[in-house]
Amino acid sequence: MTALSRTVRIGSSHGLHARPAKIFAQAAKETGIPVTIAKDAGKAVNAASILGVIALGLEQGDYATLSAEGEGAEAALDRLAELLVTDHDEGAA
């Protein structure tokens, strides 16, 4: 079984600060399989860790790479990639 990965650009206007990071990390946890996220070619961290995600310091337009393997990896990455490209700050003050 090979690991799948997907690279997308961050959509949230203020980057992945606490609120959007929470939405993402929660979704990663709910996939039930280990998923990692990395900024550019940097160190990959546990995508289900909100602190790990926040500490990556991902800002709008930054490239993030998601990786996972095993059953359901494809669907999980699709869903998580979708969350990353969404602007969760839109409409918020």
Binding site: G15, H17, R19, K22, S49, I50, A55, G57, A93
Partner: protein, 549 residues
Amino acid sequence: MPALRGVGIGQGVATGPVRRMAEALPAPENTPSSAGADAERARVAEAISFVAADLTRRAEAVDGTAREVLEAQAMIADDPTLADEVEERVAAGATAEWAVHDAFAGFRASLEAVGGYLGERAADLDDIAQRVLARLRGVAAPGVPDPGHPFVLVARDLAPADTALLDLDQVLALITTDGGPTSHTAILAREKGIVAVVGAVDAVSLADDETVIVDAAAGTVVTDPNADELARAAERAAERKAADAAPASPGALADGTPIALLANLGKPGDAADAAARGAEGVGLFRTEFLFLSATHAPTVSVQREAYRELLAAFPGRKVVVRVLDAGADKPLPFLNDAHEENPALGLRGLRALRASEDILREQLTALAEADAETEADLWVMAPMVATVEETAYFTALARAYGLRTAGIMVEVPSSALLADRLLAHADFASIGTNDLTQYTMAADRLLGSVASFQDPWHPAVLRLVAEVGRAGAALGKPVGVCGEAAADPLLAVVLVGLGVGSLSMAPSALADVRRALAERTLDDARRVAAAALAADDATSARTAAQATG
């Protein structure tokens, strides 16, 4: 029966049980654990699960963004990466306290290294770290208490972040031991109409759950009140509530002299509340809210929409908009990022705008466009004007954009002293008493240790106001006050006696000021003003004014 003294904000009175705001905890020291790794591990696990559960409970009690933020905080406390980092340190012999503190410090540093918005949010992690530390030490978590019932909040002073989190349905009154009448706490209290006594040094002795009467009108906190005192306080509170509910009339003295009562607003959304409280227009609209992003200025179209929303709420009424006032206590990195030893005396207000003139020009463009689409009577003014030349510069520039009424804020003594020359160029003057007091008394308005100097009742400040009033009368140019002083009912009378024709304040203060003006004629106001002017200091000026009536 015994009363603690402070500075009352507003005229209200409230009774309730005290809750003290816990102070931030000192950082733990890195001493090796004597209890052993297993014991430390168990302590951390208990503290973290307690804090996560507590934050989740708080999240469930609120809605919207506040809920999401609290949920994120809970998730951070319960985070697997945090657990790994803490475990690494505990296994190496650290105490639970140090492991938590040091692990959070690591995350904080990586966020700060990113900078920008994410960097600013690094402080959010501190709150969680503090909560876990507090649990480990068995003390109350720092920050605004949440006892689950209404309470009187006692704090050293409130930071802007604390005030944002205050649940106004739960806070009956505010008492601070530090901070003067221009502190964040005082400004919040005025804006929201919360009963407050600030700078009550002896309030450090108040204990949780003891009942106090907070009397802002008298500037006192009554401890151990008797039944009589409690009944009187309840009666007064009820009277004020009834008076506030009565329909508002335009501001006027007893002899019919009109004194326009206007609102100070910080965002367009507050306009409806101001109008409901009888504001006859807006005397100070602060535009800083549009410029909160640390990295760039808002576009002309974003600004135009905000101004249009504001102006549309006051058709046919006066709306005074102040162009961006950045610097000193509210720096904006894209406008002035150079370090200054004395920012209050630095590149701030109009000085900063001239240094980045494109921002000023964009703001004037947006204002002119919004003005063209709405029916309000738009006046624009510049902050921190110190010279005749600056006055001529700003008013000419504003008029070049088609803005008909261009004026200045008088906040620097030089402007008050030369008001007649400045008003030769400007269409009006609006006195900002907070900064005028700060600069006249050479006392930093944010510094608790010199708060006693920061009193707009000081005769030196009043004499400067009189100078501006005289110049306005001689040249037929309107003079208003938009500082905190206008919200003090008796001081408002003094200001009118000194020649001020309009008063702008937090909408919650309008009812009290309206009442105070209606009780006096112009001659009365002049007599009260003369008595205050003749005093030696702020306290005796206030006493003299009270004695004159």
